[in-house]
């Protein structure tokens, strides 16, 4: 955790006037807490679905970044009741479609089979399927692009850059990896 050292620097910056408040060491990656709005099997399935959207390669996929937990949390806390129903129905539809098309569970399918299932759900006459795929895909992308992994490694996010340059060549940023 870098926070403590950041704050030590801060204390030095302003002449040692600052004592570290309690929150300076309070946070840990687990402090967001687990979300348990789904049965364990359903949560596992959702993990496989987000992983299908953004799979592990040489870099982390959505499942290892716990994007399914993020999606569950957002649906529970920030969306209305219909989204919760869309989630439940969609998981059931996904598993049912897997049974019909590949004769095994969604999680047992390979990447191509899984993508075909989600694509067919998205195109199916049942609007619940498309609503589910759209919802989870949107949340997966949002969660992934705002994860620590993504912001630090792709966006080169710097919380306190200490500067702003209004007009820099794109080519220069590509070299320095700045943002």
């Amino acid at each position: 955790m870098q926070r403590r050292s950041l704050l030590k620097n801060l204390a030095l910056t302003v002449g040692g006037l600052v004592s570290l408040p309690a929150w300076a060491t309070g946070w840990s990656p687990d402090s967001l807490g687990a979300v348990s709005t789904l049965a364990p099997d359903d949560e596992t399935l959702l993990g496989e679905i987000v992983e299908t959207f953004i799979p592990e390669t040489t870099t982390p996929g959505a499942k290892s970044l716990k994007i399914h937990q993020f999606a569950m949390r957002m649906i529970r806390d920030c969306y209305d009741q219909t989204a919760q129903a869309t989630l439940q129905q969609g998981l059931a539809l996904t598993e049912a479609t897997a049974g019909q098309t590949i004769n095994k569970s969604f999680g047992s399918g390979n990447a191509a089979e899984r993508m075909a299932i989600l694509t067919s759900l998205s195109a199916s006459a049942d609007s619940a399927g498309k609503a589910f795929v759209d919802l989870i895909k949107r949340l997966t992308i949002q969660g992934y692009m705002n994860s620590e992994f993504y912001l630090v490694n792709v966006e080169k996010f710097n919380m306190a850059p200490g500067f702003y340059h209004g007009c820099v060549p794109v080519a220069k940023l590509a070299v320095t990896g700045g943002k």
Partner: protein
């Protein structure tokens, strides 16, 4: 309170009382204590200590459970507070809960409040521009409200005084409509903003300047700022969480600790001011009645002078609720105008556009600021079918985009390589509204809050002048953007966006020359009760277009100086 013994009264007696600890109250506290007055600062909300009480300030974006979004439960319970742009998951603790502080909306008005030590100075947008002579002249020239009893020359030295202490970044632009101040180094404009500035300068012969915004950020701290315990702004632009560096000006980082250092300040949080006590025999105010926010117990505090800085509408509320035999309709309200002529800034509309040029450039770092277009309409003479005009913020960024149509590894590789899109710009209108008698606040005759104080009834709305101004903003900005080569120009008027979200409400206790048509004199004293000073937004005779806080600071410092001089002469 005859049952209290003399010692208790003595303990509750000060030289000065300041009601409110936000931007103007903090300045009153600093000035009065700095001049040696034992000063009681009353704050209705909880204490917020600089740094210690900024719990989210060092959190990374991914540490927020909802990535900054407000929960549905919170939004449902707090529809008004949720509509404030600054109220996000990282700052909800600085906004009041709607249900705890009810008010009556005779017309829709989103009243945004921050009840805590520091008030809204913790979450403000930090834009700080001086008024000019063209602004103070407005009501007299155009025949609305009443003439301001002061002019730019009266306030100019006080602008300088507060700017040096607060720390204002800006460029010396030499514009008559927006006088230069005591500036720390300016932020940079982006390539596209510079292009817009240059094009406008040529197209309009210098009559439509576009400048970098002036804002209360320490771009290069001076000794006076280090003495406050503040350090250089780190360009985080998450100011609404409270800044551990003191990189932007807030009461908590600046004026209140300065006042505390004098040893003359008593700061009392959780103290809801019910009313001001008027003594008929003495013909002046003697103190305030305070309800403890938690125990609801009422206590009186006494002082020779009282500064009311409760924030515009609450200052109106306190004065309206300060009823006595002499002032049956509120303190100083002999003419019945208290609570009337409330105005605001029209923030209802924005315009956006793209530029296809400058493809090989972008920005780097973070800028807690944007460019700014000072008012150019009706400045020297009346030229439109509406009165006054608008300023506008003007921001830009080089958009990045990702293709999200695929899934699997194709989607991932698209996400991992964001592509630059066009430069995008956005501009928001800040329109002057004309104070009118029909835009008013009053005490509700039946409803009270949890502290037994009448609820405020707010009746404030847009008018035809505002509608015409919106149309003109769209027309003029579209023309300006087109001239500068922008494409995809889109206007975004939101007629449902209620007044209040600008958080620039002003007036109700206006300054003026004549006690028959105004409440305050040129020193911000109530005409009819000279030891009560109102120096927050409530005192404003008109609104002009500038972000108002800097003017409140300057007016407060000026009034405090006058108050202490009068006190020393034995005149208060």
């Amino acid at each position: 309170m005859s049952f209290l013994n003399i010692d208790s009264v003595k303990e509750r007696t000060y030289d000065a009382i300041v009601v409110g600890s936000g931007i103007s109250g903090g300045w009153a506290a600093k000035e009065l204590t700095g001049k040696g007055l034992r000063t009681l600062v009353l704050e209705r909300g909880r204490d917020v200590k600089h740094i210690t009480d900024y719990p989210t300030t060092m959190m990374q974006p991914w540490e927020f459970a909802h990535l900054g979004q407000l929960s549905k439960e919170y939004r449902d319970a707090n529809p008004v507070a949720s509509r404030c742009y600054a109220n996000r998951e990282d700052a909800t603790h600085f906004f009041i809960k709607d249900a705890e502080h009810p008010y009556v909306q005779e017309k829709p008005f989103d009243w945004i409040r921050g009840y805590q030590v520091g008030g809204k100075s913790l979450m403000w947008a930090r834009g700080t521009q001086r008024w000019s002579e063209y602004d103070f002249d407005g009501p007299a020239r155009d025949g609305f409200a009443v003439d301001w009893p002061i002019r730019y020359a009266d306030l100019a030295p006080w602008y300088s005084y507060v700017e040096k202490f607060a720390g204002i970044s800006g460029n010396k632009d030499g514009i008559a409509t927006l006088p230069d101040g005591e500036f720390l180094p300016p932020h940079e404009q982006s390539c596209v903003e510079k292009h817009f500035t240059d094009t406008m300068a040529k197209q309009y012969n210098g009559t439509r300047p576009v400048i970098i915004g002036r804002c209360a950020h320490l771009t290069k701290p001076q000794p006076i700022h280090y003495q406050q315990g503040r350090a250089q702004c780190q360009n985080r632009s998450i100011c609404q969480r409270g800044c551990p560096y003191g990189g932007y000006f807030s009461s908590n980082a600046s004026t209140l600790p300065w006042a505390a250092k004098t040893g003359k300040m008593s700061l009392r949080p959780d103290s809801v001011v019910h009313s001001i006590i008027f003594d008929e025999k003495l013909g002046k105010a003697t103190g305030v009645r305070v309800v403890d926010a938690h125990t609801k117990e009422m206590t009186e505090y006494y002082a020779k002078i009282i500064f009311v800085n409760a924030a515009c509408l609450n200052t109106n509320l306190i004065l309206l609720n300060s009823k006595s035999n002499r002032f049956q309709n509120g303190l100083g309200n002999d003419n019945g105008l208290l609570g009337k002529y409330v105005a605001f800034h029209n923030f209802r509309t924005t315009i956006s556009a793209e530029h296809e040029g400058f493809q090989d450039t972008t920005t780097e770092g973070i800028r807690p600021n944007g460019s700014y277009i000072p008012r150019f309409r009706n400045v020297v003479k009346q030229e439109t079918d509406f009165l006054r005009g608008y300023a506008a913020g003007f921001g830009s960024s080089r958009a990045t985009s990702v293709d999200t149509s695929a899934m699997g590894e194709d989607l991932k590789s698209s996400l991992m390589q964001p592509k630059y899109g066009n430069w995008r710009v956005s501009s928001h209108m800040m329109g002057e509204t004309i104070p009118k008698e029909s835009n008013y606040v009053a005490l509700d005759s039946a409803l009270t809050d949890a502290w037994g104080i009448p609820q405020l009834k707010i009746s404030v709305a847009y008018d035809d002048n505002d509608e015409k101004m919106i149309v003109d903003f769209h027309e003029q900005m579209s023309e300006m953007l087109t001239v500068a080569g922008f494409k995809n120009i889109q206007t975004h008027d939101k007629p449902d966006k209620a007044p209040g979200l600008d958080i620039h409400e002003m007036g109700g206790v206006r300054m003026g020359k004549d006690p028959k048509t105004s409440l305050l004199n040129k020193w911000n004293q109530l005409h009819a009760c000279k030891n009560v000073f109102v120096t927050d937004g409530a005192c404003m005779t008109s609104t002009s277009t500038q972000n108002p806080s800097l003017t409140f600071m300057a007016i407060t410092a000026r009034a405090a100086d006058h108050a202490v001089k009068e006190l020393r002469k034995g005149l208060l």
